[in-house]
């Protein structure tokens, strides 16, 4: 009796952790791990999502079509999309990191009402992409938007913000900065508070100027947060979809049609959807994102040494 009871208890205690983590783990496997491998399978097929019997194994042909077959329409979509996504990343990441750093530095001296400022800068972060774009399409309206009306007072007329380059990129970056810097700003604010005061005092005695203090004290002290912010911001920018889809519809002339838009259109759009090709594109994009994150960590770490 004694041993049997002990056995039951020991079995129960072995199963106990599972009772707590399994609900999550099952969902995680079903909707994250399984799709990850399933995606690799899909990318090797000419796939029909609604009629899986019609699928045809094509091996790596989908990758060949998007990467090297310059006769394929998907080749053009992929490279144009990738170029546009890269353009957005390159244009958006610096202001998305520098602007919140500046704001956090200003806030770090704790001027009057800095908490109100912090709330104002963070607020747009909570808007959905659709709200964001509706606000900015109206602000940027060519004829009656508040920005062009204001610019008209200084003699700049009717800038077609959303329908002509390079304005379209400026507009997309501008609204993204307005939308998302709040989070980075709060992280910077918190990390600036942690920089030991005595480092600045020592540098004052040695006669360092503001610029030198930033390079030699502030930036090395917040290195971990800087890495985190740069990587998270880069990943977010690679995922850009809603701003160009809703604000410029990918125009003018597909110059802002980013890769996510092509992926979505090819997988789910009208005409002849081709999920296999779309998934192949998504996998390539995903691999690029992972490589770039790793490289960024390496570079920033080395810069500090």
């Amino acid at each position: 009796m004694q041993t049997k009871q002990w056995d039951a208890r020991s079995i129960a205690s072995k199963l106990l952790p599972g009772a707590f983590f399994l609900p999550h783990l099952i969902i995680f496997f079903t909707f994250f791990i399984f799709p990850f491998f399933y995606g690799i399978v899909i990318s090797t097929y000419n796939w029909n999502l609604f009629n899986p019997d019609l699928r045809e194994f094509v091996g790596l042909d989908n990758f060949r079509r998007i990467l090297i077959d310059s006769d394929s329409i998907y080749y053009r979509y992929f490279w144009n999309g990738l170029r546009n996504t890269f353009t957005f990343v390159v244009l958006s990441v610096p202001p998305l990191v520098i602007t919140p750093f500046l704001l956090a530095s200003l806030m770090n001296v704790e001027p009057k009402g800095y908490k109100v400022f912090r709330a104002i800068f963070y607020l747009p972060n909570l808007f959905s992409i659709a709200t964001l774009v509706l606000i900015w399409r109206w602000v940027l309206n060519t004829n009656v938007g508040i920005l062009n009306l204001t610019l008209a007072h200084v003699g700049i007329d009717n800038i077609p913000w959303l329908s002509q380059q390079p304005f379209a990129w400026v507009a997309l970056v501008m609204m993204t900065v307005w939308w998302t810097i709040g989070g980075n700003m709060i992280i910077f604010t918190a990390s600036l508070k942690e920089v030991p005061e005595h480092l600045y005092e020592a540098s004052d005695i040695e006669g360092a100027n503001t610029w030198q203090k930033m390079i030699y004290i502030t930036l090395p002290s917040i290195r971990n947060q800087l890495i985190y912010i740069t990587i998270m911001t880069t990943i977010a920018s690679f995922n850009v979809f809603g701003q160009p889809q809703l604000a410029t519809q990918g125009g003018p002339e597909e110059s802002t049609t980013v890769l996510m838009m092509y992926i979505r259109n090819i997988a789910f759009g009208g005409g002849r959807p081709n999920p296999g090709v779309a998934t192949a594109m998504a996998i390539v994009l995903g691999v690029i994102m992972i490589i770039i994150s790793v490289v960024q960590v390496k570079i920033i770490k080395r810069m500090g040494d």
């Binding site: 079903t30 995606g39 704001l103 001027p111 800095y114 992409i129 659709a130 979505r264 994009l285 992972i290």
Partner: protein, 279 residues
Amino acid sequence: MALKAVERRKKRVSFILLSIFSVVWIVPILWVISTSFKTENEAVSGGLNLIPREFTLASYRYLLQDEQHNIFMYVWNSFRAAGLHTILYLVVASMAAYAYGILRFKGRDKMFWLLVSTMMIPVVMNLVPLYAIMIRFEWLNSLQALVVPGLGGIFGIFLLRQFNLGIPDDIIDSAKIDGANHFQIYWKLVLPLTKPALVVVALFAFMANWNEYLWPLIVLNDATYRTLPVGLALMQGTYNVYYSRLMAATVVSMIPVLFLFMGAQRFFIKGITMTGMKN
């Protein structure tokens, strides 16, 4: 004394610069609110006035009776999906965090870090296969499609586990000695102790689901469960040139979030600080 004067000047300069920046941040919102109370004629007249010359609620009245796009329905749909998702995620994540943070079993930490390392995998890679799964499950145009897949998220578990690790072993042990089993310890001891973290996780789960755009756009193709971001994007197409109506809809879409922010601002800030500073 001189140092204090420098300090004061710094504060003044920073106040002025921040004021200038915050005007840029606040004016677009005021401009939208102002347009929503203007007549359509005034909205497109090219005036820079933020106070409407002729104050009207016509645009809001139009929203109330628009049969094609019921924005209040969209708000409700979003609220229902995000609310349900949040409640379920709190349960699932807090239980998992109990396993990875409080319980002791072989391979616990290895398993957890393996889980965390999958956060490196970009979500875009899962888009099409996840859609294929929705077809298999017959979940297209369903509430489940909006609520369930995101429950696998690691982020909340990571945060809650961090808190659980901070709970002293003594507290857990003495509860055991008092005869409590793990389900009781989880429910009566750990959950109350980690309430601030739970609030943060709830807020972020809610906001992420509320603002999701691409996923509901793909899995919903009729109005039954249509969420606010998707509905609003469609209204942009149909309201086309009726800017005052479009701006009224925009204002309606901002209101729930504004209230949430006013009520929970410090939790948002705490949450972001926690995640950003942990690394």
